[in-house]
Symmetry: C2
């Protein structure tokens, strides 16, 4: 029976028929807890993340490790590797070093480049399931994407900025991390869609890049703020919002701009509480981690993933519902 359930080779068609008929008739549902108990196998997953120091990644990493320590019965081990994000040869080398005998699955968050795409294809060929995390790799052989629809997230930001500026005309400074990250591109795109269609009073400026460097982020933001007299809004797509807040403070604008940010962290929630940030659009890092783990396990077990369960929500946080976000 086990051989049929787990689709193992060496079973005659007749037997399969018989067993499956019985399964059907009895309404059998496999008890996965018991299965895991008996099967002594442990899943070994690897998470490859960029090496920036931001709190978002720290929180994601914490989310992963908490799940593991809280459920040791799940028999899954996770290794997190932080790889420089600007140099993809190192990333590619890391991925190439992952052997099927040591690794049962990979979750990766990285810019979308040919080198990474090829490395993922290779992994896939070696039979290792791969999920992209936070920022998708849609043109690769990844098995699944764990993260939000970033176009919709950008549209949400646009709507909030449009409504919070209440019809006043003015420019919007847009600060991104870098121009190759899929999540950044998609958010900016969604933002522009909604602003041009519905909030004609807003004039978004070309994105400035923070490059994961707070000092640099502050400098380019300040410059953008000073070069444009009538800025009424700032959209922080994914850069250090503390740096942006500093730039806004030192720009000494006639009126505080509406500031919309992504990713709820300790820093951003403090700024939200203080009224510097008006709204934060975020995704729950605990959900991201859990979903990645669940999907990876499903791929290993060749079990279907339940789409609705793996849907990550786009959360909107204002000062008023901040504490409910935990």
């Amino acid at each position: 029976m086990d051989r049929v359930l787990n689709e193992r080779p060496g079973v005659r068609a007749v037997t399969i028929q018989k067993v499956q008929a019985a399964i059907e008739e009895l309404g059998y549902v496999r008890d996965t807890a018991a299965a895991n108990l008996a099967r002594q196998k442990t899943y070994r997953f690897v998470f490859v993340l960029p090496d920036w120091k931001g709190q978002f990644l720290a929180s994601l990493e914490k989310g992963i490790s908490e799940i593991i320590t809280n459920a040791p019965q799940d028999r899954t081990e996770v290794r997190t590797i932080r790889v420089p994000n600007h140099d993809h040869t190192e990333l590619a080398a890391t991925l190439a070093g992952l052997k099927p005998r040591d690794v049962d699955g990979l979750a990766i968050m990285a810019k979308e480049t040919p080198l990474v795409r090829d490395a993922i294809a290779d992994l896939s060929k070696r039979g290792i399931p791969v999920v992209s995390l936070v920022s998708d790799q849609p043109n690769s052989d990844r098995d699944h994407f764990v993260g939000i629809d970033n176009v919709a997230a950008g549209r949400t930001a646009g709507t909030l900025l449009g409504r919070f500026t209440g019809g006043r005309h003015g420019k919007v400074v847009v600060v991104i991390t870098n121009k190759q990250s899929r999540d950044m591109i998609e958010r900016r795109h969604g933002f522009d869609q909604v602003v041009s269609a519905e909030y004609a009073h807003l004039e978004p400026l070309p994105s400035v890049e923070g490059q994961e460097d707070p000092a640099h982020t502050e400098a380019v933001t300040l410059r953008a703020l000073q070069q444009n007299k009538d800025v009424i809004g700032v959209y922080s797509v994914g850069a250090s919002v503390q740096a942006i807040a500093r730039a806004i403070a030192s720009a000494d604008l006639p009126q505080r701009p509406v500031l919309i940010d992504h990713e709820l962290t300790e820093n951003s929630s403090a700024l939200l509480r203080d009224g510097v940030i008006d709204a934060i659009i975020t995704q729950n890092t605990g959900h991201l981690a859990r979903s990645a783990l669940r999907v990876l396990r499903a791929k290993c077990d060749k079990t279907p993933v339940i789409k609705s369960q793996e849907n990550i929500r786009i959360d909107i946080v204002l000062r008023e519902n901040l504490t409910s976000m935990k």
Copy 2:
């Protein structure tokens, strides 16, 4: 060893000491999956909900049953009882009929009345864990509340309405289900707090009651709309938003009022998509159901509840992030 772990009577202090020392030393973590497997016991929980026909309750009920069918290994059975909410003698009778030998735990959503409070005290005395659901019973003996901070939810509504009306002056019609439900009272309170402190351009009117009756809701809303010339916002605290939308449509106002609603349902999401509702503040019914079940199980097992895990978020839904909410 089992007798020590489960704090059963009839174990000598010396033995307890020895076993606990060993546990400490080995860093033992109990495998609950294996424990559940061995212990053939099933948990029998009862959910008592109001008998209105709204989609929110339907979704909550569906959430409960889905969890049960999706995880038969968890060995928990749930019976949902819908009880008329206006007559609390029937409710009290239902609760009085719950015997410890048939029921391992109760989740209840009801108005806060002395009759209910006493019935909960009684249950508690009989050793049945009780959690209040959605609307709290803070002055009762309930073991836990599963739901959002409704004051904060009301504050969120107030902020959204304040910002979306963008400084224009006008009145706000507030429609509630009834004046005894704790959740309604708290939301209205939070709403008033924030509006009076931060959005002086808004003038909220006294609440009108919909009484869980769409026709009546439509009538009272329409009357409020017509008696006040300069309504620029409507706050739907918990009544049928379809009825409210109909009232707005037939009131033929010079300008569409900003409409803020609670609870994401099929009806309300359709109205959000169509631009009739501007924002919905909601709580995930799946989370509510899961949390109630987890807490009840924890109470049965005399296991601590992990506070952060049981925190229910106040979700804000705009047209732009609607699809991500599933």
